[in-house]
């Protein structure tokens, strides 16, 4: 058994190690070391917890058993998960953090003596407030992440589910959560605690259902942030520095990512949260569109264009992930490079279903990360490039965002693909993207549409090079 002061110092050390873990991610070279710091911080935190309890009788063996069960499930998932399923995995993991926070809060509520928080029915006021906030945020994280997971996995439709009075209902429920916490703290009633949990689960569910598939990057980042705040709430209850520091880090990390994602779409956070993007003006945009001529080509034409180019910029999007085309793409690029053609990749901040999604897929396909560029880094290069190869992206290339103030995506930063000498657009059909609007790029003089599955088309082009 070690003293409370000593264990507090060790918790602080593990908190600092977690900061270093995030710091390491500032560049790929230091990132692996950063991850190691994170693991070290976790080991210290767990060991110190055991040592500070000291007298753990025969419950200890069960703790190890449960760690082992959870650990093997986690390790199994981590090794088996395909990189394209990373958004689902992260959403799933968030739900577990949320649920774990709820369980710890329930346990502390039922048996406050174990945590030095008072006795059942007479829990210290401060602890009860912290506990109920932690539990409520945890529950929201859990049910919200489950919905996000189901939407990403395709089990639930990715289209927004909206109904009349939705926002009013959400507002009422959120106010009732605050009221419930107040009543709970004044009465210490366990019934109110369970009602609070139930209502919080409900609100997480209601908050995420109106948000559509392509807004998932924001949702995942937001839930990431929530899981952090839930952990911090529990950290306050347990008076544990490591948990408070981590909760604050994760909370702000998720908030920053949400901000970056919203900025990438030129939408306010509230606009995304209130949901239903593109669902409202669906009919008007479709009926007024006249048929315009497009040029379509085959793999042979595309190969010819690229062979005669001196520089090619690849613009990947979610469609590449769906078609699992990243390896085929890398092979095509290898062939191009053999012909002394300069190739780089342009990644839009909201390409894919989570922040950095495309980067991971390209890294998986052995694309060196110094060939992959962010929007601001590469956008000026399109004017000097010969060919832009758009694979599975759509709205993020739409020039309408720069020209038409009426358009729902007006003002969104887009890749200046149309400035290239020629544009190759791999797509299955002319159907509009997620925003529900037509892409002017399809009808440009210098655009060649390649109607096919992204993976098959890329392979065919490679054969023709």
């Amino acid at each position: 058994m070690i003293s409370a002061n000593l264990s507090a110092i060790f918790y602080l050390v593990s908190g600092v190690l977690f900061i270093l873990a995030l710091r390491g991610l500032s560049s790929p070279e230091t990132s692996r070391q950063g991850n190691f710091f994170g693991i070290l911080g976790m080991i210290i935190a767990v060991l110190v917890t055991f040592l500070s309890i000291g007298n753990f009788s025969n419950g200890f063996i069960f703790v190890l058993i449960f760690i082992l069960i959870g650990g093997s499930i986690g390790a199994f998932i981590a090794y088996r998960i395909p990189m394209t399923a990373m958004p689902e995995l992260v959403a799933g993991f968030h739900s577990l953090v949320g649920l774990a926070a709820v369980f710890v809060a329930i346990s502390a509520f039922l048996n406050p003596e174990a945590f030095n928080l008072g006795t059942p029915g007479n829990i210290k006021l401060g602890s009860l407030i912290e506990m109920s906030i932690g539990a409520a945020v945890g529950a929201i994280t859990f049910s919200g992440s489950i919905i996000a997971f189901l939407k990403l996995q395709g089990i639930m439709s990715g289209s927004p589910i909206t109904f009349k009075g939705q926002h009013l209902l959400n507002a009422i429920i959120l106010i009732s959560i605050v009221a419930l916490i107040y009543l709970l703290c004044s009465s210490q009633s366990s019934n109110l605690f369970w009602i609070l949990l139930a209502v919080s689960f409900l609100v997480g569910f209601l908050l995420i259902i109106p948000i559509g598939g392509a807004d998932m990057p924001v949702v995942i980042s937001m839930l990431n942030s929530y899981s952090g705040w839930a952990a911090a709430g529990i950290g306050f209850t347990l008076e544990n520095t490591a948990l408070i520091i981590t909760g604050a880090l994760v909370g702000s990390s998720g908030a920053i990512l949400s901000y970056i994602m919203c900025k990438g779409m030129n939408r306010s956070f509230f606009n995304v949260i209130l949901g239903g993007f593109g669902a409202t003006d669906d009919t008007s945009s479709k009926s007024t569109k006249e048929q315009r001529p497009v040029k379509s080509g085959n793999a042979d034409d595309a190969a010819f264009l690229m062979k005669n180019a001196s520089s090619v910029i690849i613009v990947p999007g979610y469609g590449m992930a769906v078609a699992q085309a990243q390896h085929a793409l890398r092979e095509m690029v290898d062939t191009l490079k053999k012909n002394d053609i300069k190739v780089s990749y342009a990644i839009h901040p909201v390409a894919g279903r989570m922040p950095g999604h495309m980067n991971v897929l390209l890294a998986e396909a052995n694309v060196p990360y110094d060939e992959v560029f962010e929007l601001e880094e590469i956008n000026n290069d399109f004017a000097n490039a010969d060919v832009a190869f758009v694979i599975g992206a759509n709205d993020v290339t739409n020039p309408v965002a720069k020209t038409d103030p009426q358009s729902p995506i007006y003002g969104m930063p887009v890749l200046d693909v149309e400035k290239c000498k020629s544009v190759l657009f791999v797509k299955r059909s002319l159907s509009p993207g997620y925003a529900g609007i037509d892409n002017d790029l399809f009808y440009k003089e210098n655009t060649l549409m390649l109607f096919a599955d992204a993976k098959k088309m890329t392979e065919d082009i490679t054969k023709n090079l």
Binding site: L22, L25, S26, P28, S31, R32, N35, I39, M42, I53, S57, G59, V63, F66, I67, I69, G70, G71, A75, I77, A78, M83, M86, L89, L96, V97, L99, A101, F103, V104, I106, S107, N111, A114, F115, G126, G228, A231, F236, L238, E239, L243, I244, I245, T246, G247, A248, L249, S252, S253, G254, I260, M354, P355, G356, N359, V360, A363, N366, E374
Partner: protein, 102 residues
């Protein structure tokens, strides 16, 4: 007059938010996915609370309602810790620089 320890914890919390703010802005966008998986793993340090909860039963009865929730939370957090760190490691191992030999 003594200061409530809560104030110290609140100070740590607020300062950590600022640390987090600056540290996360310095994360390169290409590593945003590993950032999410690693934050996921470290937020599972909530396992310390779960362990305390799990060990709250006395020696005659290890399992009571409170400790069962603790044990369940241990398993959930452990999935996240192992899954989160390992998948991060797997991802980070794929980020390679251009080979200079060509």
């Amino acid at each position: 007059m003594e200061i409530d320890p809560l104030i110290f914890r609140l100070s740590i919390f607020i300062l950590s938010i600022f640390v987090g703010y600056y540290v996360v802005w310095s994360v390169t966008p290409s590593l945003h996915t590993p950032l999410m998986s690693v934050t996921n793993a470290i937020s599972s340090v909530i396992i310390v609370g779960a362990i305390i909860a799990g060990l709250s039963g006395n020696s005659e009865s290890i399992f009571n309602t409170s400790s069962i929730f603790g044990f369940l939370a241990i398993a959930l957090a452990a999935i996240n810790i192992f899954g989160g760190f390992l998948v991060t490691q797997r991802m980070l191992a794929m980020y390679k620089k251009k080979k200079k030999d060509k």
